[in-house]
Protein backbone atom coordinates (compact mmCIF):
# COMPACT_ATOMS: atom_id res chain seq x y z
CA UNK A 1 0.00 0.00 0.00
CA UNK A 2 2.78 2.36 1.00
CA UNK A 3 4.64 1.53 -2.19
CA UNK A 4 1.55 2.17 -4.28
CA UNK A 5 1.00 5.51 -2.55
CA UNK A 6 4.57 6.57 -3.26
CA UNK A 7 4.15 5.41 -6.84
CA UNK A 8 1.06 7.56 -7.21
CA UNK A 9 2.82 10.57 -5.70
CA UNK A 10 5.71 9.92 -8.01
CA UNK A 11 3.49 9.80 -11.07
CA UNK A 12 1.84 13.03 -10.04
CA UNK A 13 5.13 14.82 -9.46
CA UNK A 14 6.51 13.19 -12.58
CA UNK A 15 3.66 14.59 -14.62
CA UNK A 16 4.78 18.10 -13.66
CA UNK A 17 8.31 17.20 -14.76
CA UNK A 18 6.78 15.74 -17.89
CA UNK A 19 5.10 19.06 -18.68
CA UNK A 20 8.41 20.88 -18.19
CA UNK A 21 10.13 18.28 -20.34
CA UNK A 22 7.55 18.61 -23.11
CA UNK A 23 8.22 22.34 -23.25
CA UNK A 24 11.96 21.80 -23.22
CA UNK A 25 11.81 19.15 -25.93
CA UNK A 26 9.68 21.51 -28.00
CA UNK A 27 12.28 24.27 -27.69
CA UNK A 28 15.15 21.93 -28.43
CA UNK A 29 13.33 20.41 -31.37
CA UNK A 30 12.49 23.73 -32.98
CA UNK A 31 15.47 25.87 -32.11
CA UNK A 32 18.03 23.07 -32.06
CA UNK A 33 19.98 24.65 -29.21
CA UNK A 34 20.27 23.70 -25.57
CA UNK A 35 19.04 26.26 -23.10
CA UNK A 36 19.86 26.86 -19.47
CA UNK A 37 17.32 29.65 -19.17
CA UNK A 38 14.43 27.24 -18.98
CA UNK A 39 14.53 26.99 -15.19
CA UNK A 40 14.20 30.77 -14.95
CA UNK A 41 11.25 30.67 -17.34
CA UNK A 42 9.58 28.13 -15.05
CA UNK A 43 10.27 30.46 -12.14
CA UNK A 44 8.82 33.47 -13.99
CA UNK A 45 5.65 31.47 -14.70
CA UNK A 46 5.13 30.64 -11.05
CA UNK A 47 5.79 34.21 -9.95
CA UNK A 48 3.36 35.58 -12.49
CA UNK A 49 0.73 33.30 -10.92
CA UNK A 50 1.68 34.58 -7.48
CA UNK A 51 1.06 38.18 -8.52
CA UNK A 52 -2.06 37.17 -10.40
CA UNK A 53 -3.51 35.58 -7.26
CA UNK A 54 -2.61 38.69 -5.30
CA UNK A 55 -4.28 41.05 -7.78
CA UNK A 56 -7.30 39.18 -9.09
CA UNK A 57 -8.10 36.47 -6.57
CA UNK A 58 -7.93 32.72 -6.71
CA UNK A 59 -8.83 31.55 -10.17
CA UNK A 60 -6.78 28.57 -11.19
CA UNK A 61 -7.56 28.38 -14.91
CA UNK A 62 -6.95 32.08 -15.56
CA UNK A 63 -3.73 31.99 -13.56
CA UNK A 64 -2.48 29.13 -15.72
CA UNK A 65 -3.23 31.18 -18.82
CA UNK A 66 -1.45 34.14 -17.26
CA UNK A 67 1.57 31.97 -16.51
CA UNK A 68 1.60 30.67 -20.07
CA UNK A 69 1.52 34.20 -21.48
CA UNK A 70 4.21 35.55 -19.17
CA UNK A 71 6.54 32.67 -19.85
CA UNK A 72 5.97 33.02 -23.58
CA UNK A 73 6.86 36.73 -23.37
CA UNK A 74 10.06 35.94 -21.50
CA UNK A 75 10.65 33.32 -24.17
CA UNK A 76 10.55 35.99 -26.87
CA UNK A 77 13.21 38.01 -25.05
CA UNK A 78 15.38 34.92 -24.61
CA UNK A 79 14.94 34.10 -28.26
CA UNK A 80 16.01 37.55 -29.38
CA UNK A 81 19.02 37.65 -27.09
CA UNK A 82 20.28 34.09 -27.10
CA UNK A 83 19.14 32.19 -30.17
CA UNK A 84 18.43 34.41 -33.14
CA UNK A 85 22.00 35.40 -33.88
CA UNK A 86 23.52 32.04 -33.05
CA UNK A 87 21.35 29.58 -34.97
CA UNK A 88 24.23 28.66 -37.26
CA UNK A 89 27.12 29.36 -34.90
CA UNK A 90 28.87 26.73 -32.75
CA UNK A 91 26.53 25.55 -30.06
CA UNK A 92 28.57 26.55 -27.05
CA UNK A 93 28.14 30.24 -27.87
CA UNK A 94 24.37 30.26 -27.44
CA UNK A 95 24.75 27.93 -24.47
CA UNK A 96 26.96 30.43 -22.66
CA UNK A 97 24.52 33.13 -23.70
CA UNK A 98 21.65 31.25 -22.08
CA UNK A 99 23.74 30.77 -18.94
CA UNK A 100 24.28 34.53 -18.85
CA UNK A 101 20.60 35.15 -19.49
CA UNK A 102 19.66 32.76 -16.71
CA UNK A 103 21.92 34.64 -14.28
CA UNK A 104 20.42 37.91 -15.45
CA UNK A 105 16.79 36.83 -14.98
CA UNK A 106 17.50 35.11 -11.67
CA UNK A 107 19.28 38.07 -10.14
CA UNK A 108 16.77 40.58 -11.45
CA UNK A 109 14.03 38.38 -9.99
CA UNK A 110 15.79 38.34 -6.61
CA UNK A 111 15.96 42.14 -6.71
CA UNK A 112 12.38 42.67 -7.90
CA UNK A 113 10.53 39.86 -6.12
CA UNK A 114 12.72 39.62 -3.04
CA UNK A 115 14.78 36.61 -2.06
CA UNK A 116 12.32 35.22 0.48
CA UNK A 117 10.10 32.22 -0.03
CA UNK A 118 6.52 32.98 -0.99
CA UNK A 119 3.45 30.81 -0.65
CA UNK A 120 0.73 30.25 -3.19
CA UNK A 121 -2.90 29.92 -2.06
CA UNK A 122 -4.14 26.45 -1.18
CA UNK A 123 -6.81 25.16 -3.52
CA UNK A 124 -9.58 22.69 -2.66
CA UNK A 125 -8.79 23.11 1.05
CA UNK A 126 -6.36 20.22 0.89
CA UNK A 127 -9.16 17.67 0.41
CA UNK A 128 -8.21 14.16 -0.55
CA UNK A 129 -9.90 11.46 -2.56
CA UNK A 130 -9.51 8.07 -0.88
CA UNK A 131 -9.08 5.36 -3.45
CA UNK A 132 -8.72 2.37 -1.15
CA UNK A 133 -8.19 1.74 2.53
CA UNK A 134 -7.58 -1.18 4.81
CA UNK A 135 -6.46 -1.86 8.33
CA UNK A 136 -3.48 -4.14 8.81
CA UNK A 137 -2.63 -5.14 12.39
CA UNK A 138 -4.16 -2.02 13.77
CA UNK A 139 -2.44 0.32 11.31
CA UNK A 140 -4.82 2.22 9.15
CA UNK A 141 -3.44 2.52 5.65
CA UNK A 142 -5.01 4.31 2.77
CA UNK A 143 -4.33 5.01 -0.85
CA UNK A 144 -5.33 8.54 -1.64
CA UNK A 145 -4.88 11.41 -4.03
CA UNK A 146 -5.32 15.02 -3.06
CA UNK A 147 -7.66 17.00 -5.29
CA UNK A 148 -4.67 19.12 -6.21
CA UNK A 149 -2.80 16.07 -7.47
CA UNK A 150 -5.79 15.12 -9.59
CA UNK A 151 -6.00 18.62 -11.03
CA UNK A 152 -2.28 18.56 -11.78
CA UNK A 153 -2.47 15.26 -13.62
CA UNK A 154 -5.59 16.30 -15.53
CA UNK A 155 -4.03 19.63 -16.53
CA UNK A 156 -0.91 17.93 -17.79
CA UNK A 157 -2.86 15.35 -19.77
CA UNK A 158 -5.15 17.98 -21.29
CA UNK A 159 -2.20 20.16 -22.28
CA UNK A 160 -0.31 17.22 -23.75
CA UNK A 161 -3.33 16.17 -25.84
CA UNK A 162 -3.90 19.75 -26.93
CA UNK A 163 -0.28 20.07 -28.03
CA UNK A 164 -0.39 16.79 -29.91
CA UNK A 165 -3.60 17.85 -31.71
CA UNK A 166 -2.08 21.23 -32.47
CA UNK A 167 1.09 19.71 -33.90
CA UNK A 168 -0.65 17.07 -35.97
CA UNK A 169 -3.90 18.64 -37.13
CA UNK A 170 -3.27 22.32 -37.76
CA UNK A 171 -1.28 24.00 -40.50
CA UNK A 172 0.88 25.87 -38.01
CA UNK A 173 1.61 22.61 -36.26
CA UNK A 174 2.73 20.98 -39.47
CA UNK A 175 4.95 23.99 -40.11
CA UNK A 176 6.49 23.61 -36.67
CA UNK A 177 7.20 19.96 -37.29
CA UNK A 178 8.70 20.73 -40.66
CA UNK A 179 11.12 23.26 -39.20
CA UNK A 180 12.01 20.84 -36.46
CA UNK A 181 12.84 18.13 -38.99
CA UNK A 182 14.84 20.14 -41.47
CA UNK A 183 15.26 23.87 -41.29
CA UNK A 184 16.56 24.36 -44.80
CA UNK A 185 14.06 22.06 -46.51
CA UNK A 186 11.25 23.81 -44.66
CA UNK A 187 12.51 27.17 -45.90
CA UNK A 188 12.64 25.78 -49.44
CA UNK A 189 8.98 24.78 -49.42
CA UNK A 190 7.95 28.22 -48.25
CA UNK A 191 7.75 28.04 -44.48
CA UNK A 192 8.60 31.25 -42.67
CA UNK A 193 11.35 29.61 -40.63
CA UNK A 194 12.17 32.67 -38.54
CA UNK A 195 8.66 33.23 -37.23
CA UNK A 196 7.96 29.54 -36.83
CA UNK A 197 11.07 29.12 -34.71
CA UNK A 198 9.97 32.01 -32.53
CA UNK A 199 6.48 30.55 -32.19
CA UNK A 200 7.81 27.11 -31.26
CA UNK A 201 10.09 28.62 -28.66
CA UNK A 202 7.19 30.63 -27.19
CA UNK A 203 4.94 27.57 -26.94
CA UNK A 204 7.72 25.59 -25.27
CA UNK A 205 8.35 28.39 -22.79
CA UNK A 206 4.61 28.69 -22.13
CA UNK A 207 4.46 25.03 -21.15
CA UNK A 208 7.36 25.71 -18.81
CA UNK A 209 5.45 28.58 -17.23
CA UNK A 210 2.36 26.43 -16.62
CA UNK A 211 4.56 23.70 -15.16
CA UNK A 212 6.10 26.31 -12.87
CA UNK A 213 2.67 27.23 -11.48
CA UNK A 214 1.80 23.58 -10.92
CA UNK A 215 5.15 23.05 -9.21
CA UNK A 216 4.54 26.06 -6.97
CA UNK A 217 1.08 24.80 -6.06
CA UNK A 218 2.41 21.31 -5.42
CA UNK A 219 5.09 22.39 -2.97
CA UNK A 220 3.08 25.43 -1.94
CA UNK A 221 6.15 27.64 -2.05
CA UNK A 222 8.03 29.60 -4.67
CA UNK A 223 11.41 31.31 -4.52
CA UNK A 224 13.44 33.11 -7.22
CA UNK A 225 16.20 30.48 -7.06
CA UNK A 226 13.85 27.57 -7.68
CA UNK A 227 14.67 27.61 -11.39
CA UNK A 228 18.04 25.89 -11.20
CA UNK A 229 16.83 22.55 -9.88
CA UNK A 230 13.63 22.62 -11.95
CA UNK A 231 15.48 23.42 -15.16
CA UNK A 232 17.95 20.62 -14.56
CA UNK A 233 15.12 18.14 -13.96
CA UNK A 234 13.53 19.19 -17.23
CA UNK A 235 16.86 18.90 -19.01
CA UNK A 236 17.49 15.44 -17.56
CA UNK A 237 14.03 14.22 -18.55
CA UNK A 238 14.55 15.44 -22.08
CA UNK A 239 17.95 13.79 -22.37
CA UNK A 240 16.52 10.50 -21.08
CA UNK A 241 13.69 10.83 -23.58
CA UNK A 242 16.00 11.41 -26.52
CA UNK A 243 16.22 15.23 -26.86
CA UNK A 244 13.69 16.33 -29.45
CA UNK A 245 11.32 13.42 -28.91
CA UNK A 246 8.26 14.94 -27.16
CA UNK A 247 6.48 11.75 -25.97
CA UNK A 248 9.84 10.36 -24.89
CA UNK A 249 10.51 13.51 -22.87
CA UNK A 250 7.16 13.12 -21.11
CA UNK A 251 7.97 9.50 -20.25
CA UNK A 252 11.40 10.57 -19.04
CA UNK A 253 9.82 13.20 -16.77
CA UNK A 254 7.39 10.73 -15.25
CA UNK A 255 10.10 8.14 -14.66
CA UNK A 256 12.28 10.72 -12.92
CA UNK A 257 9.35 11.70 -10.67
CA UNK A 258 8.65 8.07 -9.78
CA UNK A 259 12.30 7.29 -9.09
CA UNK A 260 12.66 10.34 -6.87
CA UNK A 261 9.67 9.41 -4.74
CA UNK A 262 10.55 5.73 -4.48
CA UNK A 263 14.14 6.66 -3.63
CA UNK A 264 13.05 8.94 -0.84
CA UNK A 265 10.67 6.29 0.48
CA UNK A 266 13.10 3.38 0.55
CA UNK A 267 16.54 4.78 1.18
CA UNK A 268 17.15 5.96 4.73
CA UNK A 269 17.80 9.71 4.98
CA UNK A 270 16.68 9.80 1.37
CA UNK A 271 15.04 13.21 1.41
CA UNK A 272 18.39 14.98 1.47
CA UNK A 273 19.44 13.04 -1.60
CA UNK A 274 16.30 13.87 -3.61
CA UNK A 275 18.14 15.41 -6.54
CA UNK A 276 20.80 12.71 -6.58
CA UNK A 277 18.38 9.99 -7.66
CA UNK A 278 17.39 11.81 -10.80
CA UNK A 279 21.01 12.36 -11.86
CA UNK A 280 22.15 8.84 -11.03
CA UNK A 281 19.26 7.51 -13.06
CA UNK A 282 20.19 9.85 -15.87
CA UNK A 283 23.83 8.76 -15.93
CA UNK A 284 22.93 5.06 -15.81
CA UNK A 285 20.39 5.58 -18.58
CA UNK A 286 22.95 7.37 -20.74
CA UNK A 287 25.56 4.69 -20.19
CA UNK A 288 23.10 1.96 -21.20
CA UNK A 289 21.65 3.85 -24.13
CA UNK A 290 23.66 6.91 -25.10
CA UNK A 291 20.97 8.34 -27.36
CA UNK A 292 18.31 8.31 -24.63
CA UNK A 293 16.14 5.56 -23.22
CA UNK A 294 13.04 6.38 -25.21
CA UNK A 295 14.69 7.60 -28.38
CA UNK A 296 13.39 6.43 -31.69
CA UNK A 297 15.65 4.21 -33.73
CA UNK A 298 17.99 5.92 -36.15
CA UNK A 299 17.63 9.21 -34.31
CA UNK A 300 21.28 10.07 -33.82
CA UNK A 301 21.78 13.34 -32.07
Amino acid sequence: MYVLQQLLNGICQGSIYALMAIGYAMIYGIVGLVTFTYGEIIMMGSFSAFYYFMAFGDNLVLSLICGFATAALVGIVVHKVCYQRFLDAPRHISLICTIGMSMLIKNLAIIVFGSTMKGLPIFFEGKTLVLAEKTVEGFHQQLSLTYLQIVVIVTVIVLAIALSLFLNKTRTGVRLRAVSQDRKAAALVGVNVKNTTLLGNCIGCGFGGVAGILLGLYYNSIIPTMGGAAGMKAFSSVVIGGLSNIPGAALGGISIGVIENLGIAFIPNGSGYRDVFAFVFLIIALVIKPEGLFAKRGNNA
Partner: protein, 346 residues
Protein backbone atom coordinates in the same frame (compact mmCIF):
# COMPACT_ATOMS: atom_id res chain seq x y z
CA UNK B 1 43.69 47.77 -33.43
CA UNK B 2 43.37 44.20 -32.18
CA UNK B 3 45.67 42.99 -34.95
CA UNK B 4 48.33 45.55 -34.06
CA UNK B 5 48.26 44.50 -30.41
CA UNK B 6 48.56 40.91 -31.47
CA UNK B 7 51.49 41.54 -33.76
CA UNK B 8 53.24 43.48 -30.99
CA UNK B 9 52.65 40.68 -28.51
CA UNK B 10 53.95 38.09 -30.91
CA UNK B 11 57.12 40.02 -31.63
CA UNK B 12 58.07 40.60 -28.01
CA UNK B 13 56.51 37.45 -26.60
CA UNK B 14 59.30 36.60 -24.18
CA UNK B 15 59.74 40.14 -22.90
CA UNK B 16 56.02 40.56 -22.34
CA UNK B 17 55.92 37.25 -20.50
CA UNK B 18 58.79 38.24 -18.22
CA UNK B 19 57.33 41.69 -17.56
CA UNK B 20 53.93 40.23 -16.65
CA UNK B 21 55.65 37.64 -14.46
CA UNK B 22 57.64 40.29 -12.60
CA UNK B 23 54.48 42.36 -12.23
CA UNK B 24 52.74 39.41 -10.60
CA UNK B 25 55.69 38.90 -8.24
CA UNK B 26 56.26 42.53 -7.28
CA UNK B 27 52.69 43.83 -7.21
CA UNK B 28 51.70 42.37 -3.81
CA UNK B 29 54.91 43.69 -2.22
CA UNK B 30 54.17 47.21 -3.44
CA UNK B 31 50.53 46.96 -2.45
CA UNK B 32 51.48 45.63 0.96
CA UNK B 33 53.52 48.73 1.66
CA UNK B 34 51.37 51.44 0.15
CA UNK B 35 47.67 50.62 -0.01
CA UNK B 36 45.60 51.03 3.11
CA UNK B 37 43.52 47.85 3.15
CA UNK B 38 46.39 45.83 1.73
CA UNK B 39 45.22 42.47 3.09
CA UNK B 40 41.90 42.89 1.33
CA UNK B 41 43.52 43.70 -2.01
CA UNK B 42 45.98 40.83 -1.74
CA UNK B 43 43.10 38.56 -0.77
CA UNK B 44 41.45 39.39 -4.08
CA UNK B 45 44.72 38.71 -5.89
CA UNK B 46 45.01 35.30 -4.26
CA UNK B 47 41.48 34.57 -5.38
CA UNK B 48 42.44 35.53 -8.92
CA UNK B 49 45.32 33.07 -8.73
CA UNK B 50 42.98 30.30 -7.61
CA UNK B 51 40.69 31.00 -10.49
CA UNK B 52 43.63 31.00 -12.90
CA UNK B 53 44.33 27.41 -11.82
CA UNK B 54 40.67 26.41 -12.10
CA UNK B 55 40.14 28.13 -15.44
CA UNK B 56 43.35 26.71 -16.93
CA UNK B 57 42.41 23.20 -15.86
CA UNK B 58 38.94 23.58 -17.35
CA UNK B 59 40.48 25.04 -20.47
CA UNK B 60 42.52 21.87 -20.95
CA UNK B 61 39.28 19.88 -21.06
CA UNK B 62 37.02 22.28 -22.95
CA UNK B 63 39.46 24.18 -25.08
CA UNK B 64 42.03 21.62 -26.11
CA UNK B 65 40.16 18.36 -26.47
CA UNK B 66 36.78 19.86 -27.32
CA UNK B 67 34.89 17.95 -24.65
CA UNK B 68 32.23 19.92 -22.89
CA UNK B 69 32.57 19.91 -19.14
CA UNK B 70 30.17 22.25 -17.36
CA UNK B 71 30.43 20.63 -13.94
CA UNK B 72 33.93 21.70 -12.98
CA UNK B 73 32.74 22.68 -9.52
CA UNK B 74 32.46 18.97 -8.67
CA UNK B 75 36.19 18.44 -9.23
CA UNK B 76 37.04 21.55 -7.24
CA UNK B 77 34.90 20.26 -4.40
CA UNK B 78 36.58 16.85 -4.36
CA UNK B 79 40.02 18.44 -4.27
CA UNK B 80 39.27 20.84 -1.46
CA UNK B 81 37.37 18.31 0.63
CA UNK B 82 40.17 15.75 0.22
CA UNK B 83 42.73 18.30 1.34
CA UNK B 84 40.60 19.56 4.21
CA UNK B 85 39.65 16.12 5.49
CA UNK B 86 43.23 14.83 5.25
CA UNK B 87 44.35 17.81 7.29
CA UNK B 88 41.62 17.71 9.94
CA UNK B 89 40.80 14.03 10.32
CA UNK B 90 44.08 12.29 9.48
CA UNK B 91 46.35 14.93 10.96
CA UNK B 92 48.04 15.84 7.72
CA UNK B 93 48.06 19.53 8.55
CA UNK B 94 51.14 21.69 8.98
CA UNK B 95 54.21 20.36 7.13
CA UNK B 96 52.35 17.25 6.00
CA UNK B 97 49.96 19.32 3.95
CA UNK B 98 52.54 19.47 1.19
CA UNK B 99 51.86 15.76 0.77
CA UNK B 100 48.12 16.24 1.05
CA UNK B 101 48.03 18.64 -1.91
CA UNK B 102 49.25 16.13 -4.52
CA UNK B 103 47.11 13.42 -2.92
CA UNK B 104 44.09 15.68 -3.36
CA UNK B 105 45.11 16.16 -6.98
CA UNK B 106 45.41 12.43 -7.55
CA UNK B 107 42.07 11.66 -5.89
CA UNK B 108 40.42 14.27 -8.09
CA UNK B 109 42.12 12.83 -11.15
CA UNK B 110 40.66 9.46 -10.19
CA UNK B 111 37.23 11.10 -10.01
CA UNK B 112 37.93 12.56 -13.43
CA UNK B 113 38.63 9.08 -14.74
CA UNK B 114 35.42 7.87 -13.12
CA UNK B 115 33.46 10.51 -15.01
CA UNK B 116 35.35 10.00 -18.23
CA UNK B 117 35.05 6.22 -18.47
CA UNK B 118 31.30 5.85 -18.82
CA UNK B 119 31.07 8.98 -20.92
CA UNK B 120 33.70 8.18 -23.55
CA UNK B 121 30.99 7.41 -26.05
CA UNK B 122 29.03 10.53 -25.23
CA UNK B 123 29.64 13.78 -26.99
CA UNK B 124 28.57 17.36 -26.84
CA UNK B 125 25.48 18.01 -24.85
CA UNK B 126 25.18 14.47 -23.48
CA UNK B 127 28.62 14.75 -21.94
CA UNK B 128 27.71 18.20 -20.63
CA UNK B 129 24.64 16.95 -18.78
CA UNK B 130 26.60 14.05 -17.28
CA UNK B 131 29.29 16.38 -15.92
CA UNK B 132 26.59 18.69 -14.61
CA UNK B 133 24.84 15.76 -12.93
CA UNK B 134 28.14 14.57 -11.49
CA UNK B 135 28.83 17.99 -10.03
CA UNK B 136 25.39 18.08 -8.37
CA UNK B 137 25.68 14.51 -7.07
CA UNK B 138 29.05 15.24 -5.49
CA UNK B 139 27.77 18.43 -3.90
CA UNK B 140 24.64 16.82 -2.47
CA UNK B 141 26.61 13.87 -1.12
CA UNK B 142 29.09 16.24 0.54
CA UNK B 143 26.14 18.13 2.01
CA UNK B 144 24.39 15.07 3.41
CA UNK B 145 27.16 12.68 4.37
CA UNK B 146 27.38 14.18 7.83
CA UNK B 147 29.59 11.47 9.33
CA UNK B 148 32.54 12.28 7.08
CA UNK B 149 32.07 15.75 5.65
CA UNK B 150 30.36 17.38 8.61
CA UNK B 151 27.34 18.00 6.39
CA UNK B 152 26.02 21.47 5.68
CA UNK B 153 28.21 23.00 8.39
CA UNK B 154 31.32 22.43 6.29
CA UNK B 155 34.87 21.69 7.46
CA UNK B 156 36.19 24.26 9.88
CA UNK B 157 39.57 25.02 11.44
CA UNK B 158 41.72 23.53 8.71
CA UNK B 159 45.32 23.78 10.02
CA UNK B 160 47.69 26.19 8.32
CA UNK B 161 50.30 24.91 5.95
CA UNK B 162 53.95 25.14 7.06
CA UNK B 163 56.66 26.60 4.92
CA UNK B 164 60.27 26.04 6.06
CA UNK B 165 59.05 25.66 9.61
CA UNK B 166 57.09 28.91 9.50
CA UNK B 167 53.55 28.31 10.65
CA UNK B 168 52.22 31.79 9.88
CA UNK B 169 51.38 31.06 6.27
CA UNK B 170 47.74 32.02 6.41
CA UNK B 171 48.72 35.64 5.93
CA UNK B 172 47.61 36.52 2.40
CA UNK B 173 51.06 37.66 1.31
CA UNK B 174 52.84 34.37 2.03
CA UNK B 175 49.91 32.40 0.67
CA UNK B 176 50.01 34.54 -2.46
CA UNK B 177 53.51 33.35 -3.27
CA UNK B 178 52.70 29.73 -2.48
CA UNK B 179 49.70 29.77 -4.80
CA UNK B 180 51.68 31.73 -7.36
CA UNK B 181 54.30 28.98 -7.44
CA UNK B 182 51.56 26.47 -8.11
CA UNK B 183 50.12 28.67 -10.87
CA UNK B 184 53.51 28.80 -12.58
CA UNK B 185 53.89 25.04 -12.20
CA UNK B 186 50.42 24.46 -13.59
CA UNK B 187 50.91 26.74 -16.58
CA UNK B 188 54.36 25.37 -17.32
CA UNK B 189 53.30 21.71 -17.25
CA UNK B 190 50.21 22.53 -19.28
CA UNK B 191 52.38 24.32 -21.82
CA UNK B 192 54.69 21.31 -22.01
CA UNK B 193 51.82 18.83 -22.27
CA UNK B 194 50.02 20.84 -24.92
CA UNK B 195 53.13 20.90 -27.07
CA UNK B 196 53.79 17.21 -26.66
CA UNK B 197 52.35 14.21 -28.45
CA UNK B 198 49.51 14.06 -25.95
CA UNK B 199 48.53 17.67 -26.50
CA UNK B 200 48.56 17.26 -30.26
CA UNK B 201 46.39 14.17 -29.90
CA UNK B 202 43.88 16.20 -27.87
CA UNK B 203 43.77 18.93 -30.46
CA UNK B 204 43.32 16.46 -33.29
CA UNK B 205 40.39 14.94 -31.39
CA UNK B 206 38.92 18.42 -31.03
CA UNK B 207 39.21 19.17 -34.73
CA UNK B 208 37.94 15.83 -36.02
CA UNK B 209 37.75 12.76 -33.84
CA UNK B 210 37.04 10.36 -36.71
CA UNK B 211 40.03 11.56 -38.72
CA UNK B 212 42.36 11.39 -35.74
CA UNK B 213 41.15 7.88 -34.98
CA UNK B 214 41.96 6.84 -38.51
CA UNK B 215 45.46 8.22 -38.03
CA UNK B 216 46.02 5.98 -35.05
CA UNK B 217 45.10 8.24 -32.12
CA UNK B 218 43.42 6.21 -29.41
CA UNK B 219 40.57 8.63 -28.91
CA UNK B 220 39.10 7.01 -25.81
CA UNK B 221 42.40 6.80 -23.99
CA UNK B 222 43.39 10.38 -24.74
CA UNK B 223 39.99 11.72 -23.78
CA UNK B 224 40.26 9.94 -20.43
CA UNK B 225 43.79 11.29 -19.89
CA UNK B 226 42.50 14.73 -20.76
CA UNK B 227 39.77 14.56 -18.15
CA UNK B 228 42.20 13.26 -15.55
CA UNK B 229 44.75 15.99 -16.25
CA UNK B 230 42.13 18.73 -15.99
CA UNK B 231 40.67 17.23 -12.83
CA UNK B 232 44.14 16.89 -11.28
CA UNK B 233 44.81 20.62 -11.37
CA UNK B 234 41.30 21.42 -10.24
CA UNK B 235 41.98 19.19 -7.23
CA UNK B 236 45.28 20.93 -6.48
CA UNK B 237 43.59 24.30 -6.69
CA UNK B 238 40.81 23.07 -4.42
CA UNK B 239 43.27 21.79 -1.83
CA UNK B 240 45.09 25.13 -1.83
CA UNK B 241 41.80 26.94 -1.46
CA UNK B 242 40.89 24.83 1.56
CA UNK B 243 44.10 25.70 3.37
CA UNK B 244 43.85 29.38 2.47
CA UNK B 245 40.28 30.01 3.59
CA UNK B 246 40.65 27.42 6.38
CA UNK B 247 36.94 26.71 5.99
CA UNK B 248 35.04 25.01 3.22
CA UNK B 249 31.44 23.98 2.76
CA UNK B 250 29.45 22.40 -0.02
CA UNK B 251 27.72 25.73 -0.73
CA UNK B 252 30.97 27.08 -2.16
CA UNK B 253 30.77 24.63 -5.05
CA UNK B 254 27.27 24.99 -6.44
CA UNK B 255 26.67 24.57 -10.15
CA UNK B 256 26.85 28.33 -10.64
CA UNK B 257 30.47 28.22 -9.46
CA UNK B 258 31.22 25.80 -12.27
CA UNK B 259 29.46 28.13 -14.70
CA UNK B 260 31.52 30.99 -13.31
CA UNK B 261 34.78 29.22 -14.14
CA UNK B 262 33.37 28.24 -17.53
CA UNK B 263 32.52 31.89 -18.19
CA UNK B 264 36.11 32.87 -17.37
CA UNK B 265 37.47 30.32 -19.82
CA UNK B 266 35.13 31.39 -22.59
CA UNK B 267 35.44 35.14 -22.01
CA UNK B 268 39.21 34.83 -21.98
CA UNK B 269 39.41 32.56 -24.99
CA UNK B 270 39.14 28.79 -25.15
CA UNK B 271 42.01 26.75 -26.43
CA UNK B 272 44.72 29.30 -25.68
CA UNK B 273 47.11 29.31 -22.75
CA UNK B 274 46.67 32.97 -21.89
CA UNK B 275 42.90 32.96 -22.38
CA UNK B 276 41.95 31.56 -18.97
CA UNK B 277 44.41 33.90 -17.26
CA UNK B 278 42.90 36.94 -18.93
CA UNK B 279 39.42 35.61 -18.20
CA UNK B 280 40.11 34.96 -14.53
CA UNK B 281 41.73 38.37 -14.02
CA UNK B 282 39.01 40.19 -15.93
CA UNK B 283 36.00 38.50 -14.32
CA UNK B 284 37.35 38.87 -10.80
CA UNK B 285 38.31 42.50 -11.36
CA UNK B 286 34.94 43.34 -12.83
CA UNK B 287 32.89 41.61 -10.16
CA UNK B 288 35.09 43.36 -7.60
CA UNK B 289 34.71 46.70 -9.35
CA UNK B 290 30.95 46.37 -9.30
CA UNK B 291 30.91 45.59 -5.60
CA UNK B 292 29.50 49.06 -4.99
CA UNK B 293 26.46 48.00 -7.02
CA UNK B 294 25.70 45.42 -4.34
CA UNK B 295 22.92 43.16 -5.51
CA UNK B 296 23.20 44.40 -9.09
CA UNK B 297 26.74 43.04 -9.29
CA UNK B 298 25.71 39.71 -10.76
CA UNK B 299 23.31 41.45 -13.11
CA UNK B 300 26.22 43.39 -14.59
CA UNK B 301 28.26 40.22 -14.79
CA UNK B 302 25.46 38.47 -16.67
CA UNK B 303 25.11 41.36 -19.10
CA UNK B 304 28.87 41.28 -19.66
CA UNK B 305 28.72 37.57 -20.54
CA UNK B 306 25.89 38.12 -23.01
CA UNK B 307 27.60 41.10 -24.60
CA UNK B 308 30.85 39.20 -24.96
CA UNK B 309 29.01 36.39 -26.72
CA UNK B 310 27.44 38.91 -29.06
CA UNK B 311 30.59 40.75 -29.95
CA UNK B 312 33.49 38.40 -29.51
CA UNK B 313 32.36 34.80 -29.11
CA UNK B 314 35.88 33.40 -29.38
CA UNK B 315 36.94 35.27 -26.24
CA UNK B 316 39.43 38.08 -25.76
CA UNK B 317 42.51 36.04 -26.58
CA UNK B 318 40.95 33.78 -29.19
CA UNK B 319 41.85 34.09 -32.83
CA UNK B 320 39.13 35.37 -35.13
CA UNK B 321 39.68 32.50 -37.54
CA UNK B 322 39.38 29.83 -34.85
CA UNK B 323 36.81 27.05 -35.04
CA UNK B 324 35.28 28.50 -31.91
CA UNK B 325 34.58 31.90 -33.44
CA UNK B 326 31.59 30.78 -35.44
CA UNK B 327 30.04 33.69 -37.25
CA UNK B 328 33.29 35.43 -37.83
CA UNK B 329 34.31 32.67 -40.22
CA UNK B 330 31.21 33.14 -42.27
CA UNK B 331 31.74 36.86 -42.54
CA UNK B 332 35.29 36.35 -43.72
CA UNK B 333 34.09 33.80 -46.22
CA UNK B 334 31.52 36.24 -47.54
CA UNK B 335 34.12 38.95 -47.85
CA UNK B 336 36.41 36.59 -49.65
CA UNK B 337 33.72 35.41 -52.01
CA UNK B 338 32.68 38.98 -52.73
CA UNK B 339 36.27 39.82 -53.37
CA UNK B 340 36.62 36.87 -55.70
CA UNK B 341 33.44 37.83 -57.54
CA UNK B 342 34.77 41.36 -58.04
CA UNK B 343 38.02 40.02 -59.38
CA UNK B 344 36.20 37.82 -61.82
CA UNK B 345 34.14 40.75 -63.06
CA UNK B 346 37.25 42.80 -63.58
Amino acid sequence: MMEKIKAFLKKYQLIVLIVVGILFVVAPLIINGTVKKSNYVIDIMVRILFYIIFASSLNVINGYSGQFNIGHAGFMLIGSYTGALLATKLGMGGPWYWLAIPIAGLVTALAGLLVALPTLKLRGIYLAIVTLGFSEIIRIVAMNWTAVTNGPLGVKNIPKVWLFGISKTSSPLVMYYIVFAFVILCLYTTYKVINSRVGRAWMSIREDSAASMSLGVEVGKYKAINFMYGAFWAGIGGALMAVYYRFISADMFIVDEGFNVLAMVILGGQGTLVGPIIGAVMVNMITEFFRFADEFRLVFYAILIIMMMWMRPQGLAGASNSVLAGKQIKKNDKKKSKHAAKKERV
